[in-house]
């Protein structure tokens, strides 16, 4: 029994260490990711429920989709749930006391459409007014006063046109519309909905469901992403950049790491020089390379200096897509190769000196040592660097923006940005982000699987 044996007392220390990790993972990793994922496939404003009476407690008569055209049959003020927000369409109701048509005292509620305020207190509170006259032939000459600020309330009395009233109380009501429209399954439905969800047109008799208050899961945003005209150029460019940059980058990084590791004179100096670009933000690097390739930039100056060109060449324009790609490749190579190098250098340093000396002693030349000893032993480091770089390559953004403005050459991350900022479509932006995430995940799994299979084959 572990409880009876004091020497086998349970250690809680690991759990103290694990618990914050789990909390951290949940709060800063899992939760935002799930939220992002939901945003990509869930439309928060897809449906507008209609209710039988103008009240949040009313029975549902059906739902209209976002964007559905509606006929506005009527409107009514209604008590606002919770706090008032400024963008609500509202109307004021006044509680008035006056002498009624029949000479009796009247006390009740009337909407602002019926009362003109004539006298206000210093702070703007209405004090008194008159009943607005109804114009036109056959108009109802009397104005009803109601028991509650609600058009369906009991009538407590009537007032004549232009009757003077005293205002004792003011309330603000949200306007609800009674609308008729076609639901998703083609049925025509009628019901009430708060005016904030509906855009009205000039006439005031027609409108459109601006947004709904109910969500639904949908692949609409994902479809919109795939059908977006920038989607396939963005994907193709991203993959092309990756295919060009990664092999070059790894060759360069391995070369640089071997130089650093060779302990030449000033070897550590090489490390500093090579890792310098790590300190620069990708946007800064993009701007730097823009300064090189722009029409009055460094490259043109140098070409001009050596008399190689008559007039400045335009490298970064819609007609020179190849040049832009080339400039992006150069900028990315310059910027991101050092991180790969640092990973490889640390991998090289983990190889014991005696192992390399043994190889040398048994007759391996430098290149054979690289080929048969260093590269195989660097495999874990290379894998880490490859996964890291692939994930980052799917996210390439700032350099592309700086060199192409995000129009001529576009990449997946740029489309996420465009959807979010320019088109204000969070859901499609989220779909792009999730797409990038899935690509990264798939490539990592792919690399890990390949390495594992190789190991399995080798150990057989």
């Amino acid at each position: 029994m572990s409880t009876s044996n004091p020497s086998r007392r349970r250690s809680f220390t690991p759990y103290f260490l694990i618990a914050p990790t789990l909390v951290f993972l949940a709060a800063f990793f899992a939760w935002p990711m799930v939220q992002g994922l939901i945003l990509a496939v869930h439309d928060d404003e897809a449906l507008l429920p209609l209710v039988a009476v103008a009240s949040v407690e009313g029975d549902r008569t059906g739902e209209l989709s976002q964007g559905a055209a509606v006929e506005i049959l009527g409107q009514q003020g209604n008590t606002v749930e919770g706090e008032l927000t400024s963008d609500l369409l509202t109307e004021q109701w006044f509680r008035v006391t006056a002498v009624g048509t029949d000479g009796a005292a009247v006390d009740g509620w009337a909407p602002e459409t019926r009362i003109r305020v004539r006298d206000e207190a210093n702070d703007g509170t209405p004090l008194a007014g008159t009943v607005r006259p109804r114009l036109g032939e056959g108009a109802e000459p009397l104005t009803d006063v109601l028991a509650e600020p609600n058009e369906r309330a009991e009538v407590t009395g009537s007032l004549d046109d232009r009757a003077e009233v005293e205002i004792t109380q003011v309330t603000v009501l949200e306007v609800w519309f009674n609308v008729r429209g076609e639901s998703n399954d083609g049925a025509t439905i009628e019901g009430w909905a708060p005016s904030r969800f509906i855009t009205t047109f000039e006439s005031g008799e027609e409108g459109r469901v601006d947004r709904g208050s109910d969500g639904e899961f949908t692949l609409r945003f994902v479809e919109r992403m795939f059908n977006d005209r920038f989607f396939s150029p963005a994907l193709r460019t991203t993959l092309l950049l990756m295919a060009i940059i990664l092999p070059l980058q790894f060759l360069l990084a391995i070369g640089m790491a071997l130089i650093v590791h060779s302990r030449l004179k000033g070897g550590s100096g090489w490390l500093y020089i090579f890792s310098l670009p790590m300190g620069m933000s990708d946007l800064a690097v993009g701007i730097l390379f823009f300064a090189i390739f722009t029409s009055n930039g460094l490259l043109n100056s140098i070409l001009d200096l050596f008399g190689l060109i008559e007039e400045p060449q335009v490298f970064l324009s819609a007609d020179t897509r190849g040049w832009i790609i080339g400039a992006i490749v150069l900028a990315e190579l310059w910027r991101a190769t050092s991180i790969v190098m640092v990973i490889i250098v640390s991998g090289l340093q983990a190889i014991p000196d005696e192992t390399l000396e043994a190889a040398e002693l048994f007759g391996a030349t430098y290149w054979k040592r690289v080929r048969y000893i260093m590269l195989p032993l660097l495999k874990p480091s290379l894998l880490v660097a490859l996964i890291l770089r692939t994930i980052l390559a799917f996210q390439v953004f700032a350099v592309v923006i700086a060199l192409s403005g995000g129009e001529i050459v576009t990449v997946l991350a740029n489309e996420t940005f465009r959807q979010y900022f320019s088109l204000r479509n969070n859901n499609v932006a989220s779909a792009y982000a999730v797409f990038i995430l899935l690509l990264s995940l798939a490539s990592s799994v792919f690399y890990l699987r390949i390495v594992r299979t190789q190991d399995e084959l080798a150990s057989r």
Binding site: E354, A358, L361
Partner: protein
């Protein structure tokens, strides 16, 4: 024929002289042990022979070739490293065959050499294993097999047994000795373990502070150390050293030690008498003194401090004035701590040492 001639080799790291003007000749097929405490330069000297650290001065010849500045791969040598340095990503077969492959040997030669070397080290059944699936002792065997598979004329070993546990070390020691007799390579073997050196080497080169102190056969190094350091470094227990004072007595010379007098052997009298009136150091091994219950000629009166029964012998720690001696006696010799007894110093077993230089004045036995 692969004689190794190390001529006046010096190696300096910054201000530190690791190897100072070392010269040794290792005869063809000889097993030479480089012995010394850590930091004495023995590994540095070995690496200079291997080509892994170039000598700053001097010359290294292997056979008739000057290899001082040759690349390690061009020296026709192979080596067993202290950490084994076997390649973790290769199978045992690939490890053993690596040197042959790098030297563009034919596939058939590689296969036969690998299997032969693996057979010699009894790892024939491990050929398809990887290093991380093997014990330390097995890795050690792989490292040796890899070195032997090269069939190089020169074999270098850098403390190959130091990472093994005591029992395994004992076993490998005997096995290595057998193997090296079989493969007939000229071998330099670096160790700090004097027992390894004594038991394995054809000759031992003792190093200290970058200097070679003595190069001789094990029995000579043991019995006739050239200086106080060699005597104290080799043997367990190490050689005893006593201070004495030389004075002329009537027609002869005698050395006073703790109230007794020791007379040197006739052939050394002149050498010792040159120290007349001065101090001299007397070196003698524990087993060369006789413990007696009564005074005789050339005996010294001592007090017993500790008695350690070791089975085949009893090791006594005794005191003479300020000096402490280790004496081994027959286990039946009756003695207990606090006893006083007489130690006989056979004149021909004594090494007389100049206390200023630490050098032996002249030989003891013939």
């Amino acid at each position: 024929m692969a004689e190794i001639r190390i001529e006046n080799v010096t190696k300096v790291f910054g201000d530190f002289v690791a190897v100072d003007d070392a010269s040794i000749t290792v005869r063809d097929q000889e097993f030479l042990v480089l012995l010394g405490p850590s930091g004495c330069g023995k590994t540095t000297l070995l690496r200079a022979v291997a080509g892994l650290g170039m000598a700053d001065a001097g010359r290294i010849m292997i056979g008739d070739r000057d290899v001082t500045y040759a690349r390690p791969g061009d020296r026709n040598i192979s080596m067993v490293f202290q950490s084994y340095a076997i390649f973790p990503h290769m199978t045992v077969r690939e490890n053993i065959g690596f040197g042959l492959k790098m030297n563009n040997a034919s596939q058939g030669e590689i296969t036969s050499n690998v299997e032969e070397a693996a057979e010699l080290l009894h790892i024939g059944d491990l050929l398809d294993r990887r290093p991380n699936e093997m014990s330390g002792g097995q890795r050690q065997r792989v490292a040796v097999a890899r070195a032997l598979a090269m069939k190089a004329e020169v074999l270098l070993m850098d403390e190959p047994l130091s990472n093994l546990d005591a029992l395994l070390r004992l076993e490998m020691r005997a096995e290595l000795k057998r193997l090296l007799r079989e493969v007939k390579a000229t071998t330099i073997y670096v160790t700090h373990d004097q027992i390894e050196a004594l038991s394995m080497g054809d000759r031992i080169a003792v190093m200290k502070d970058g200097l070679i102190q003595q190069v001789d056969e094990p029995s000579t190094v043991y019995a006739e150390p050239k200086n106080q350091f060699v005597g104290s470094f080799i043997g367990n227990p190490p050689m005893n050293f006593l201070r004495g004072k030389v004075h002329m007595a009537s027609d002869s010379v005698a050395v006073a030690i703790g109230g007794s007098e020791i007379v040197p052997s006739p052939e050394l009298r002149d050498a010792v008498s040159s120290f007349d009136g001065r101090a001299i150091t007397l070196g003698i091994r524990a087993e060369n003194m006789g413990a007696l219950n009564a005074q005789e000629a050339n005996t010294v009166r001592v007090q017993v401090d500790v008695v350690e029964p070791l089975g085949a012998q009893n090791l006594l720690t005794v005191r003479v004035g300020d000096d402490t001696l280790k004496v081994s006696t027959h286990p039946t010799f009756p003695v207990s701590p606090g006893d006083e007894l007489w130690l006989k110093f056979p004149a021909d077993q004594i090494r007389w040492i100049d206390p200023d230089s630490g050098e032996v004045i002249a030989g003891g036995t013939s």
